[in-house]
Amino acid sequence: MSKRYEIRFSGAGGQGLILAGVIMAEAASIYEGLQAVQSQSYGPEARGGSSKSEVIISDGPIDYPKATIVDALLALTQEAADKYSVDLKEGGVLLIDSELVTRQPAGNFKVVSFPITSTAKNEVGREIVTNIVALGAMVALTGMITRENAEKAVLARVPEAFLELNKKAFNIGYEKAIAALG
C-alpha cells in the first residue's frame, strides 16, 4: 500500500490556515505530481474559534481524507498546540509560533519554533501573510515538496499586486525554519 504523509495546520479562525493547507495540497497535487487531499474543520465564527486544515499526501490513492497520526503539525495558538500535539507521530515535527505558544508541548517529536506572526508583521511588513510565512516553514520542515514547486503554488493563488509580498513571506518562512532547525 502507498505511504501516507499527514500535515495539520491549526490555530484560530482568521489566521489563514485553510488557505495554507490548500496551497500545500495544490503544490503536491498539481506541481509535484503526488496525490493530495485537503480538508478542514472550523467553527461557525468568521474569526476566532478553532480552525484546522489537514493535508494528506501520498504516492497512491488516498481513501480516508482526515489525519490519523500526524507527521507534521503547525500550531499558531496555545490551545491548538495543547490539543493536537498528542496526535503527533513519534519522530514527527511540531512548528509553533514562539510568541503565541509559550508553554511548549513535550513529547517524542521535534519542536521548531520562531516568532511567525511577528516575522510576518515586522520582517515581511504585513501580519496578513502570517500563513504564508508558516507555509514556507512547513515546506522546509516536511520536505515533501520542492521549494520551487511550493513557491509556484503560492504565486498561483495570490492577486498580482501581492505577488512580491507573498514571495517574500514564503522565502523568509522557509529560511527561518531551516535556521531554527540548526
Binding site: A36, D63, Y64
Partner: protein
C-alpha cells in the same frame, strides 16, 4: 496529458458538473456548507447567457427553481439541512407536476440549525420522506470530488429522463474537501435532453401517457399552453378527483423510478468476492471504510465494502443477494443514528446481523472505529 485538471472542492466540482450537464438556471439562498456552488455559478452562468438568482429564502428559491425548469431551463439549487426542510412542500409540487430539476444538498449536523460547519449524513431520510404523500425519490451520494462532478451530471440526466426532481447529497467532508479532478472532454459524458413534444400545440397534453410513463414536457410560456397544478391531475393538466385517474397517475409517478431501479441504482463492490464481513457505507464514511477494509485484510480478516452511490432507490436487491450468499455480518458506519442501519436490516431479511456505528458529534467516523467493530464479529 491533454485533459484539463484542477484542484477543487466538492462544491466547486458540483457547479462545474452542472455546467457540463447544460445547467443554465440557478436559484438559491446561501447557506453553509453549500454556498460555494452558488459562488461559482454566480460568476459562470452570466458568461454563458444563463441566469443566476438569489431569492429571499429557500422556499422562494425552490419556487423559482420549478418555474425556471418548467420554462425549459436545466435548473439547479443548492442548500443544506435547514434549507432542505423549507423546500419540502415545493419538492412535492415538483414531483406531482413532474418538473425535472436538481437539488444539491450538503449534509451538516441537524435537526434545525444544528452544527452548520460539522459533517453529517442525516438528511438521507429527508430526501425520500421529507415531503408528504407517495412520490418518486432519487438521491445520489458521492464520495469524492471527481464523483461529485460526475454524479451532478448524472442527476441532471436522471431528472430529464424521468421528469422528476433529483437530489445530490454529499456530506460536508466531501463538499469541502479538495482533490484533483480531471475534467471530461465535451461529448465524453452523454447528456440526456428533455423529451420535447412531437405533436402541434393544439394537441399537446402535459401528461399524455400515450408517449409512455414519462410524457414529453413543453416549455411553459412557449406556444404550447398548458395547465400546471399541485392537485391530482388529468392528462391535460387540469385537476381531477376521479378515483381511477388519481390512482393510475399516482402509481405512474412512482413507477417512473421504482420501475427503473436497475437504470438508476449505482454502487461499488470493493473486495466482496470472498468477504465475510461487509461494510455498507457511503459518502466520506466509505473512505474510512475502505481504509479499514484494507487494514483488516492485512490482519487476515475477510472484509469488503458495498459502497452506496444511489441512496434512493435503495440498493435492496444487491444487499439481499449478498445476505443470501452468506456473510457473517454487515456493518453500517454512518454519521446519523442508524438511518442506513434500519434499511439494511429491512432488506436483508434477518439473514445476517447488522452492526451499526453511529456518530452525530460533528466528527467523522474514523477507520479505527470500523476496524474495532469488525473484530467484534465472531
Amino acid at each position: 496529458m491533454g485533459k484539463k485538471v484542477a484542484f477543487l472542492q466538492g462544491n466547486e466540482a458540483a457547479a462545474h458538473g452542472a455546467l457540463y450537464a447544460g445547467c443554465n438556471f440557478f436559484a438559491g439562498y446561501p447557506i453553509t456548507p453549500s454556498t460555494e456552488v452558488a459562488e461559482v455559478l454566480s460568476a459562470e452562468l452570466p458568461k454563458i447567457g444563463g441566469k443566476f438568482i438569489q431569492m429571499e429564502d429557500e422556499i422562494g428559491a425552490m419556487a423559482a427553481l420549478l418555474g425556471g425548469a418548467l420554462a425549459g431551463s436545466k435548473a439547479l439549487t443548492s442548500t443544506s439541512g435547514p434549507g432542505l426542510s423549507l423546500k419540502q412542500e415545493l419538492i412535492g409540487y415538483g414531483c406531482i407536476a413532474e418538473i425535472p430539476c436538481v437539488i444539491y444538498n450538503v449534509m451538516r449536523g441537524g435537526p434545525s440549525t444544528g452544527m452548520p460547519t460539522g459533517p453529517s449524513q442525516s438528511d438521507v431520510m429527508c430526501a425520500k420522506w421529507g415531503t408528504h404523500g407517495d412520490h418518486p425519490a432519487i438521491c445520489l451520494v458521492p464520495a469524492s470530488v471527481q464523483e461529485t462532478y460526475e454524479e451532478t451530471i448524472r442527476a441532471f440526466n436522471l431528472s430529464e429522463k424521468y421528469r422528476t426532481p433529483v437530489m445530490v447529497m454529499p456530506d460536508e467532508i466531501v463538499a469541502h474537501m479538495r482533490e484533483r479532478i480531471v475534467f471530461p472532454e465535451p461529448g465524453e459524458i452523454e447528456i440526456i435532453p428533455r423529451k420535447a413534444p412531437t405533436v402541434p400545440p393544439e394537441q399537446y397534453k402535459p401528461y399524455d401517457t400515450s408517449f409512455g410513463d414519462v410524457p414529453p414536457l413543453a416549455a411553459f410560456g412557449s406556444e404550447y399552453r398548458f395547465h400546471v397544478t399541485g392537485l391530482n391531475k388529468m392528462q391535460d393538466g387540469f385537476p381531477t378527483t376521479k378515483a381511477s385517474v388519481v390512482q393510475e397517475e399516482e402509481e405512474r409517478q412512482v413507477r417512473k423510478v421504482e420501475g427503473n431501479v436497475d437504470d438508476i441504482v449505482k454502487f461499488e463492490e470493493y473486495l466482496l468476492d470472498d468477504a465475510e464481513i461487509v461494510v455498507v457505507a457511503f459518502g466520506s464514511t466509505s473512505r474510512s471504510a475502505r481504509y479499514a477494509v484494507n487494514e483488516a485484510r492485512k490482519e487476515g480478516i475477510k472484509a469488503g465494502m458495498f459502497r452506496i452511490i444511489t441512496y434512493w432507490p435503495f440498493p435492496e436487491k444487491q444487499l439481499l443477494a449478498l445476505a443470501k450468499r452468506g456473510v457473517k455480518a454487515f456493518i453500517t458506519p454512518e454519521m446519523n443514528l442508524g438511518m442506513t442501519h434500519g434499511l439494511v436490516k429491512g432488506c436483508t431479511e434477518g439473514k445476517a446481523p447488522v452492526l451499526g456505528i453511529f456518530r452525530v458529534d460533528g466528527e467523522p467516523i474514523n477507520p479505527g472505529q470500523i476496524l474495532d467493530k469488525m473484530k467484534e464479529v465472531k
